[in-house]
């Protein structure tokens, strides 16, 4: 038996050490800090359906993701193994439901929420046809799932876009009897993007019309050598049907070749905002309030036909509001509790608007700051709820400095 000591020792050390490592991990996971939202004032009914998506971060690396709601916290590793691997934690709740109830509809489709639309009757998914090699047009594959019957319908529609090298679908929604697809595209011989809203007739499987963001017609001057890029400011949701869509337009000067033959970086020369009104089927230029010209439309939210721009100054929240791009902004100030605003000013904040409620939430919980939640009723302009994200882990005794970074606010 003595002759076996090397094999025995090697096996024992390997088994015990690796076993200890994973058992300790499992135990640590069970002891993972719990998060909840502690009510400081108001009725916690105001945060019904609020789900804060945050990452536990250390040295700029996300260790795990957590969803925090009124009910407590749910970590990404709490999901069933295959759902974790599928990346369902960060997927829109409508898509999670779709995955559970109509998984076959999702086969071959991406989890990008901007390519889906949902209403009471159906789900719609739109994607660029990746097989077609036709340079004369760009083809879209459209799948419709009827909720009542579970029937899946497939359509193909050609768009009047030639030789596209880049095509990105930003939003899909049903407008009247048409399907509206908002998309950015560019051709292979140009870096400049164009933005179109395509109106599709699915019964005829053709494009009815398209509205192009023609910057020149909007009075935006684009120099000859400049490149144009669009990015949507509006936060698109699968269930949401917005009347307005806001785009940020970046005009950049292309890099110049220097004496050494290398090309200098593109330089951003102008930033504009444009709004597309689905009712009027027209683009218009959006001028920001002069106080926000420097900061841009970072926290802009769309609620039906209204645009809201909140700005935190001191203990006050100034809420700018307009109902159309041309009608000008009105503003009102809302007083917030001091303890809430201090951390919001220090660590930054994020906002979202849902059903006439503005959710204002600070974004970092670390040694110095907490995550505060404030809910404002847009009818009465009153703060109806304030709360604070609490954790069971002790901040001061932590050797490893981890922080909780908010990256998304979802309201069901």
């Amino acid at each position: 038996m003595k002759r076996y000591w090397k094999v025995g020792l090697l096996s024992l050390i390997a088994f015990l050490t690796i076993g200890w490592f994973y058992v300790e991990k499992a135990v640590a996971r069970m002891k993972a800090p719990e998060y909840n939202i502690e009510t400081l004032s108001g009725d916690d009914k105001a945060i019904e359906g609020l789900d804060l998506k945050a990452g536990i971060v250390r040295n700029d690396e996300v260790l795990s993701n957590v969803g925090i709601s009124k009910e407590g916290s749910l970590f990404d590793h709490d999901l069933p193994y295959f759902e974790q691997r599928e990346g369902l934690f960060n997927v829109d709740s409508s898509l999670q439901k779709l995955y559970k109830e109509h998984k076959s509809f999702l086969r071959g489709k991406t989890f990008s929420p901007n390519q889906y639309f949902e209403n009471d009757n159906m789900y719609v998914y739109v994607d660029k046809n990746r097989q077609e090699k036709n340079k004369e047009s760009t083809q879209l594959d459209i799948s419709v799932l009827e909720k009542a019957s579970g029937k899946e319908l497939e359509y193909k529609v050609s768009l009047p876009l030639k030789d596209t090298s880049f095509f990105w679908i930003a939003n899909v929604q049903v407008v009247g009897k048409q399907l509206a697809v908002s998309a950015s595209s560019s051709t292979s011989n140009s870096k400049t993007e164009e933005w179109n809203i395509f109106y599709l007739d699915l019964t005829k499987q053709e494009t009815d019309s398209n509205d192009k963001a023609a910057l020149k017609d909007l009075g935006i001057d684009v120099p000859a050598q400049a490149a144009v890029y669009f990015s949507p400011v509006t936060n698109f949701e699968i269930k949401q049907s917005n009347d307005l869509e806001v785009l940020e337009v970046h005009i950049t000067q292309q890099g110049e070749e220097n004496e050494e033959g290398s090309v200098t970086e593109e330089e951003l020369t102008q930033t504009h905002y444009i709004v597309y009104d689905y009712g009027a089927k027209a683009f218009s230029v959006l001028s920001l309030p002069k106080e926000l010209k420097e900061r841009g439309a970072e926290h802009l939210s769309v609620a039906e036909k209204s645009l809201y721009l909140p700005m935190l100054t001191g203990q006050q929240l100034t809420l700018y509001h307009t109902v159309s791009a041309s009608s000008g902004w009105t503003s009102k100030t809302i007083q917030l509790p001091k303890e809430v605003t201090i951390d919001m000013k220090k660590a930054g904040y994020d906002t979202t608007i849902k059903e006439d409620k503005l959710y204002l939430i600070s974004t970092v919980e670390d040694q110095d700051t907490d995550i505060f939640v404030a809910v404002i009723d847009l009818h009465t302009d009153k703060v109806i709820y304030t709360g604070k994200v609490n954790t069971t882990s002790e901040k001061t005794s932590k050797q490893e400095e981890t922080a909780l970074h908010l990256y998304d606010i979802n309201v069901e």
Binding site: A14, F21, E86, G108
Partner: protein
Amino acid sequence: MKNYIKLVRFEVDRFSKIYGALIGLTILLQIAAVVSAEMGYMKEANSLMLEQRYTSVQVIEHLGKISMHTVSYTTLFVFSIGIAVVSLLIYCLFIWYRDWFGKNMFIYRLLMLPLNRIQLFFAKLTTILLFVFGLVAVQLLLFPLEEFLLRKITSAPYFELVSLETLSQSHPFLSLILPHSFSGFLIAYGIGTLAVIVLFTVILFERSYRWKGIFIGAAYVLIIAAILIGPLYAPLNFLFYQEIFWLYLFLSFLIGGVSIWLSYWLLQHKVTV
């Protein structure tokens, strides 16, 4: 079973001295990595304090704190893991070929033993796995010792504690040898074991048919690669992760089973001395 355990003991004993040296080298290199990382950090910190009049707080703001995270990215540390991995890869070949080459062809005695020859195959495979897991265990045991050493030699304000769990989650090498979850560990080492099984089969092809065997082995590897890569050419996102997992699990068992059966057949009927 008794014969199999005897064979494993035998294989472990044969490599134990080199394996011991490999562990020793890993320990030395990693301790050197800790010391050199601390020296490099303090040199930079001192130069900032002397030349730029930085306070210790400003130094930390500028350089960050030193931790095992810093150490793990040093060339010495990465080299220590690399040398262990490469040594074991070479040993996968050596474990078979040393039986053929040498003063007395040891394979002659091995093949004459009154046992099922596939036990030779499994004994060698087990030995490789034991050595791999042994080195992983050494790394796990070394980490707290290295962290202790780093803490001792670094001035307190500059030191930061980083758990192995945190490090193994983000480090490109450590996350490979110590996957974040146990399921990841099973998948990573399952793939590794399958690769060793296939490599052993290729070696036995070569030992059975010599030059011709190299081509047969190469063709066998190409077929396996085609089987494994094939599903990746399915249309984008056509399969869900769960389906991909079960498909690859099935393919892995199929490839492993076929490889073991081929190795058994080659060992029983074709391998010659």
